[in-house]
Amino acid sequence: MKEEHKHIKAKKYGMVIDLDKCTGCGACMVACMAENNVPFKEDETDKLLSITWLRIYKLTNGKPFPETDICYLPRPCMHCEGQHGHAPCVSVCPATVTDYDMETGIVSQIYTRCFGCRYCMAACPYHARYFNWWDPVWPEGMEKYLNPNVSPRMRGVVEKCSFCFPRYQVAKDKAMAEGRREVEEHEYQTACTQACPAGAITFGDLNNPKHAVYKLKMSPNAFRLLERLGTNPKVYYISSREWVRRSGDNYLANEVKIKKL
């Protein structure tokens, strides 16, 4: 085998979600389920037992009628970088099932190695990790649409958003077939980004100035969730509304300004 490690600049895949544009329609959720072989069951109304790698939260400003305002916030896995790749969930996994990849910045996971201790779920402040409480069952016929690029999970393991990493694998294969080592921005996009009818989600390499996310994340209206915990997430949100930006983190009563890390 030839040496494969030419000096490729480390990528840091991340997402910017424009909450002004997001309508909470749920297309991203379904695109994700369809792409990633996420199972479903008869009753999915208990959201604490419902696997949605990407969940949409509904935020309200808490004011009475007619001052009320609402905002939808889609929450994929944040792919936290923490300090030097020590995401909250990564370092706690006892069996090295989940990992932070410095090459792409993705928090990856081997489902078949996970034995279901759920420590990572306890560690994640975003509730981005989901446990397979049931064996996934696809009603007759439905198993036909399963995507072979993503392995279906079994009962008793934790799963979460992978930033559609299999799409990166497929894009890389295509690039390589064409003799390229690098994948273009448009070649690797997550299923939710691709589907979003409002174009609210932008995905790309946060380290690459040519990618759209690079500029978007610098918007004065950009913020991340729970930055103060030091999770160093890679999903940015944009909102022109102060109350929404303030909902991204916790503040003491005397803290008037939003802290940015």
Binding site: K21, T23, A27, T68, Y145, C196, A198
Partner: protein, 758 residues
């Protein structure tokens, strides 16, 4: 020597040591864990070559372009088609879960079925296509032979496209005028277009170029119009390219996305539009060029008899001053005035109507007229960023049906719903009137009913009355692909392919500016013994023979479609759509086909007087306030399909837990109102309206006006599969049908209600 227990102990220790030193335990432990990693019951998706097939989504009238990823001969995922004129790559959640309709074997009808149980019970027996066709043919021949040809009627999802037109053609050749479509806001829009501009055309909104959208309760980002297109327009506005003002009693998502939300007393939207018009006129802010040169009936005018009639100007100035409108609508006078001013000051303002998705009901004509008048006042008719009229695609040019005597006679019979008669001269289809007529009459005006691409038992208001009416129809033929509520009511089902298995043309979606045809293509081979509805019609015609057979001179539907689309076919096959991008709306000099060749505020010669067109009256709600102190309104959500297609499992999974919890729907109520009723979040309640009652739970929502409660459409199915059926309440079970006094169209929007703790 003897063997004692110590020897056995020793033997055991030897075995233990030997086993530990052999691979047996370790390999077993490893293999067992590998077994758990891929339990035999965990499916392994088959690998294969990847292919993409372009098609068009038909799950709603949006007409989005889709591309289906296939692995080998399996369809694996639906994605939005990049660069498509309607949705340019975006796709909604219903479209994305399309494969669950295709592969949802539990909800699909797999072969022709004949009813064996009671109606609605869902007991059927499988029959062959030959049996099914001959049975329906016999029935049709029998009815025809008794001179009852006009008693065969058809309910279709729409009257556009080849399949709907083939159905209509079949009825014509057979001898019945009784073709119906399901109600939608298009009915009122097209009627308004006809009354003011004298043309039969489709209405289009140049939303991409408008910079100020005044929406009277339209769910711009909740499925109104062509949903994905509207989402993309909304995103442009959010980028600062336009402002949106949303007027409705509830903080919908559209309201939250808009720049300003103005809560209004429900049902008073028309009054507000007239109030805004009065401010615009009073302050002389209207587009003088348009109003003075291209409009008629703005000022008072003299009719043919020489009598002076009141014009629009005097009508609104006298009747709808901001003070009065403020009282009616509950909106501050100052808000009304400033809203009117900002609407006019925008460079490309646009007023739109049709509440929620605009698909469940046709709406009040006066409301659409008033909104139309606002557009006319700012002169945005057929202008960039305004409201356009575009001709309906005229690609269907089949030879005229040759009719035999029976057909000639039958077709001249009056329509059951009286549409087009003296009472409702300008309306085409009034399906909403049919259940009432059936239930009140002695005789049975419908002997055989076809239902195609529609689920009237679920989707028409007053489910109970609709069922009662259906009970009176001796023979119902369903053409659905899914075992929906109406299919369950049918006597015989001739199942259509699912859209991913068939060819079909999709004409211009609601509100789109350019003549457009989308093509749905078979992505995979049919999963079951189903037939394209087009082919089924041909088979029926063939069975009936004579002129009916002659009316369909095609070998099969695919040939028919290709011939019909003739020169457009290549573009359709290649891109999945055909578009006439060159079309520009007619300029003002040529746009109006009225008697005055102008835009007519008053619809001269058509309407009785201006008040009948625009006049606002507030007494349109069923139920008395004393017994029913609250007002129940419906709302639509992208996450709840409420038309012909029910939510597939993925979409059900996306439904919020503040909408559905277990099997119970949550009703939105203002915390203040809830407090008065002694109710708290999640509590159970009995919801009663003059039409029906239901068990619900309450969700306290600050965004809803006190005294109003809101229920989502799309739940309460009694059919489909376990993922959808039996959950929540169907809004239609709680409301009665309300007829618009002028158009006769369905104008239901809410009902009085009572909520009691349960």
């Amino acid at each position: 020597m003897k063997i004692d227990r110590r020897s056995f102990l020793s033997l055991g220790m030897g075995v233990a040591a030997g086993t530990a030193l052999s691979p047996l335990p370790w390999k077993l432990i490893d293999d067992i864990s590998i077994w758990t990693q891929m339990w035999p019951w965990t499916p392994v998706p088959e690998i294969g070559e990847v292919n993409y097939v372009n098609s068009t989504c038909t799950l709603c009238p949006g007409g989005c372009g889709i591309t289906v990823r296939k692995i080998g001969d399996r369809a694996v995922k639906v994605e939005g088609k990049e660069g498509h004129p309607i949705n340019s790559g975006g796709v909604c959640l219903l479209g994305l879960s399309g494969l669950q309709n295709l592969y949802g074997y539990d909800r699909r009808i797999k072969t022709p079925l004949k009813r064996i149980g009671n109606r609605g019970q869902g007991s059927f027996q499988k029959i062959t296509w030959d049996e099914a066709i001959s049975e329906v043919v016999n029935k049709l021949s029998e009815v025809r032979s008794t001179g009852q040809a006009h008693a065969v009627s058809c309910i279709s999802g729409s009257d556009q496209g080849t399949v709907a037109q083939l159905l209509k053609r079949f009825l014509t050749a057979y001898g019945s005028p009784n073709f119906f479509t399901m109600p939608s806001m298009q009915d009122s829009y097209e009627l308004a277009l006809y009354l003011t501009q004298g043309i039969q055309a489709s209405v289009a909104f140049d939303v991409e170029n408008s910079d100020f959208v005044l929406s009277f309760g339209s769910g711009i980002v909740e499925g109104w119009g062509s949903p994905v297109r509207m989402f993309q327009a909304s995103s442009r506005w959010r980028e600062g390219k336009g402002k949106v003002v949303q007027i409705e009693p509830r903080l919908s998502i559209t309201a939250a996305k808009s720049d300003k939300w103005i809560p209004i007393k429900p049902g008073t939207e028309a009054a507000l539009a007239l109030g805004l018009a009065s401010v615009i006129i009073k302050e002389s802010l209207y587009d003088k060029e348009f109003v003075e040169n291209y409009a008629f009936g703005f000022e008072n005018w003299k009719d043919d008899a020489g009598k002076t009639q009141i014009g629009f100007k005097q009508f609104v100035l006298e009747g709808y001053g901001p003070d009065k409108v403020a009282k009616i609508t509950g909106i501050d006078k100052s808000t009304i005035i400033s809203l009117a001013r900002s609407f006019v000051r925008a460079s490309k303002p646009l007023a739109i109507g049709g509440r929620n998705q605009g698909r469940s009901t046709s709406g009040r004509l006066n409301e659409f007229m008033a909104i139309y008048a606002l557009n006319a006042l700012v002169g945005n008719i057929n202008k960039t960023g305004g409201v356009w009229s575009i001709p309906k695609p005229g690609y269907i040019k089949w030879p005229k049906v040759e009719m035999d005597d029976v057909a000639e006679k039958g077709i001249k019979e009056p329509r059951i719903d009286a549409a087009g008669s003296a009472s409702y001269p300008y309306s085409q289809y009034l399906l909403n009137r049919v259940p009432g007529i059936l239930n009140s009459g002695q005789e049975n005006p419908i002997q055989v009913l076809f239902v195609a691409g529609a689920n009237p038992i679920y989707a028409l208001p007053n489910t109970k009355a609709v069922k009662e009416a259906f009970d009176k129809i001796p023979y119902i033929v369903g053409f659905s692909s899914y075992l929906d509520e109406t299919a369950k009511y049918a006597d015989i089902i001739l199942p259509n392919h699912v859209y991913l298995e068939r060819y079909e043309d999709i004409p211009t979606p609601v509100g789109f500016q350019k003549p457009f045809i989308g093509l749905a293509k078979p992505v995979i081979a049919p999963q079951f013994e189903t037939k394209n509805l087009g082919d089924t019609i041909f088979l029926l015609a063939k069975g009936l023979g004579g002129t009916i057979e002659k009316a369909f001179p095609w070998d099969d539907y695919e040939t028919c479609l290709k011939e019909t689309l003739s020169e457009k076919w290549d573009s359709l096959e290649e891109n999945g759509y055909w578009i006439d991008s060159s079309l520009k709306p007619a300029d003002w000099k040529n746009a109006f086909k009225t008697a005055s060749k102008k835009f007519e505020f008053i619809a001269a010669g058509k309407a009785k007087d201006i008040a009948s067109l625009f006049g606002f009256s507030s007494s349109t709600l069923e139920g008395d306030e004393a017994s029913y102190p609250l007002v129940l309104i419906p709302y639509d959500s992208m996450r709840l399909a409420n038309g012909f297609i029910g939510d597939p499992p993925f979409v059900m999974k996306a439904v919020e837990d503040t909408v559905l919890k277990g099997k119970d729907v949550l009703i939105e109520i203002n915390p203040e109102t809830a407090k008065q009723l002694g109710m708290s979040e999640g509590g159970f309640a009995k919801l009663a309206t003059p039409v029906g009652t239901a068990k619900v739970r309450v969700h306290l929502y600050d965004g809803i006006m006190p005294g109003i409660i809101a229920l989502p459409r799309g739940l309460g199915h009694t059919a489909y599969d376990k993922f959808l059926g039996g959950k929540g309440v169907n809004f239609n079970e709680l409301i009665g049908s309300v007829e618009d006094p002028v158009s006769g169209l369905d104008a239901t929007w809410g009902i009085r209600a009572k909520l009691t703790k349960a």
